[in-house]
Symmetry: C2
Subunit: 203 residues, 2 copies
Amino acid sequence: MEKGILFVVSAPAGCGKDTILNELFKRTDKAGYAVSATTRAPREGEINGVHYHFLTREDFSEKIKNGEVLEYTEYCGNFYGTLKKSVDELILSGKDAVLKIEVEGAMNIKKMFPEACLVFILPPSLEILEKRLRGRGTETEEKICERTLQAKNELDYAKNYDYLVVNDDLNDAVEDVLAVFRAEKLRRERCIGLIEKVCGDLN
Amino acid sequence: MEKGILFVVSAPAGCGKDTILNELFKRTDKAGYAVSATTRAPREGEINGVHYHFLTREDFSEKIKNGEVLEYTEYCGNFYGTLKKSVDELILSGKDAVLKIEVEGAMNIKKMFPEACLVFILPPSLEILEKRLRGRGTETEEKICERTLQAKNELDYAKNYDYLVVNDDLNDAVEDVLAVFRAEKLRRERCIGLIEKVCGDLN
């Protein structure tokens, strides 16, 4: 069984990251999200290890201390995060694991998972991003300026990513990310063992 | 206008390289072969610079000496080859240039064109390659052994290529190469200027 790849996907807010990934998962069954961990109580019907890994607060804190948590956040008094183990399980099953995560978290993951492949999604321009945010009509002018500035700061990190995808046309962007997922597997560094395998008994 | 990429594609004989590329060109108009140069006389209807660059033997030899020829071969007393200029013209027009070339030629091109991207097509196994060659029924047993051995030697070079594509299923192999062509353009090293462009006036 060929191992999957951990893909880390980042984008400034408003760049359509979620839309791209939702569409991508419709077009491929070779990639998925790793099961998240949380300290909140399971809701009815939720199965441990399927919907979430349900942990006590002590367990979660212990795992953070031991470097077993790739990224986490606290929300409404509960921890939510991704266990290194969950990603390992997914990629060992041959699937690619996708992590949506902000730029600083992505840099940390690259340290813990040097073989991770980092994909950054960019808006066609900050001007267009600003227009898109304004077009929603849901945010104050101040908030829009703040988010555009934040996007600009996040774009500083893009140079540390392996691939840059511009979300101008949604379909193009989805096909771009799919091509990245497909091609990355074929990179020499990732499949050098293939040559020996092909030579087989004649080696 | 974004510059195209020079893709060098190599494969041992019998791996389906031509079939893959012919099929690929049906599915994309973003890549093409560079116009070849030759010392043979133009045939009726052939246009200089379109079908071939027609050169005198002296011109061709001069260009070889000056390092202006990426690769060439002599056949029936005439030179056939690829001028560096032809590749430059194609990639400057925004198209990707594809060069089919054997392994040692590919290593030379990487030296002259460090930004070239090298793709190696492998058979599923040497055993299967041998069977395919035998299945054609056109070659002697001795010739088949010779070609399999040559394939094995060529596979030694695969580790110097950027991408390895196995031609097990033709459609998969074509989609793999298409994904490589698409994803390679998105690699950070190739589009680092994009970040500045996106920031635009807000930079």
